[in-house]
């Protein structure tokens, strides 16, 4: 099977990392829209337009499935992508909510963090409430994106930024990492909230979803990874080498 994976930039490689580990696909075609990143500060119309342009790009590869690895795309453009695609389109929000349902009770306090676009869409809230969660806090944490992009994953800036966003919030039992960049802050988040806090990661959530909801089985072969970017593909490949410890074409 050939999977197309779409993200606004390099962040979706955290999802690719999980897909590679689970070996669901023979081939993974990744496109990062690095010439227009980030999407998380942009509005719905812009995100839909950019997503449909990415879909056109992927059509050349005849994929079996498109994974919108970007939460902002999943929150704003999933319906439009599904209307225009001739193959299934999977976002990261529903898998994240289902992963929360597996690991948390309905009454337990959940914190959802993401970009402004993702949080303001209300998509996580709608799906979490449908699944019976009632103790919900939402916090847009836009500064986490440039911090990860800069490779600043621990230390005083991260600490001050977490204080800024979290000091007034109730203590969560679980946190949904509603942005593909945020798994790289896992260590800092665990150190801030304590090791008992459950972190829900889009990459892991989508692998469970592919297996359970779409009945996709592992191939037990190392997938072939092809990386494309709307600018600086060499930067994407460098980040892939660092994050995935994986050399690609």
């Amino acid at each position: 099977m050939r999977a197309a994976v779409f993200d606004s930039g390099v962040g979706g490689l955290t999802v690719v990392k999980s897909l590679i580990e689970h070996r669901f696909f023979d081939e993974i075609i990744y496109f990062g829209d690095t010439a227009r990143v980030p999407y998380g500060t942009k509005d719905k119309n812009t995100i839909v337009r950019y997503s449909l342009e990415a879909l056109e790009f992927f059509k050349n590869f005849d994929p079996d499935l498109l994974i919108a690895a970007c939460n902002s795309v999943s929150a704003h453009a999933l319906e439009e992508l599904r209307e225009s695609a001739t193959f299934p389109v999977v976002g990261v929000i529903e898998p994240g909510v289902l992963a929360a349902k597996e690991r948390l009770e309905g009454h337990e306090p959940i914190l959802v963090i993401g970009t402004k676009a993702t949080i303001s869409s209300g998509q996580y809230e709608e799906l979490l409430r449908q699944e019976g969660f009632c103790n919900l806090t939402f916090q847009a944490t836009p500064l986490f994106v440039p911090l990860v992009e800069e490779g600043i994953l621990t230390g005083p800036i991260v600490q001050a930024t977490m204080d800024h966003y979290f000091h007034n919030l109730p203590h969560p039992k679980g946190i949904i990492l509603g942005c593909t960049h945020f798994p790289l802050l896992q260590e800092a988040l665990t150190s801030y909230f304590g090791p008992e806090t459950i972190l829900i990661h889009s990459g892991e959530a989508i692998c469970d979803y592919l297996h359970q909801a779409l009945a996709i089985e592992p191939t037990n072969r190392q997938p072939e990874l092809k990386l494309f970017a709307s600018e600086s593909p060499e930067k994407l490949k460098r980040v892939a080498r660092e994050w995935l410890r994986y050399s690609s074409r």
Copy 2:
């Protein structure tokens, strides 16, 4: 006279503020490419392409002058803009260097801060050395952009970020604020480096340049400001109201 002012986003409004205060123009047409902001993390080809697209937009307004208020555009696309424009194109880097020459001696230590695109271009270095400055430090400070965009202008995150970028650098006599966002951090920079440090601001520098190098005289009329953006023009107008205390069309 009608001036076109181009920036990647809302940051160039700090230049517009100075232009309004100096009353050089009857009309200011501002375009912020908010659907693709920021430029400062992007590569030269992308910045040139986006700048030439903005130029096409401005041609409809028949301006007398185009001001590239964005340092990343000034560093990477000025030549290409000048080749394609039928009116003069002014960037912010040469004015910044000339302002430094007026206020600082050649041997005095200067720190230039900007986006990665601006600093890596080497444009400030080349022009400053031509003007006889020899004690130069360059520091890309990409996190300052999202901090300003988030309205976080003082406090512990700003302090930690300044420590991160500056703790190893020699103490400067003057700082060139090589990004239109940075004048909003003036208070924090002065508090970090001390009140005797001279801050060179693109908006003020370009007004001196327009007057001295291009012999443009103030009109003594309040200019008419027209604001355009590639997405969310209402956000640009809101920021303009906040920063400029000025209501526009």
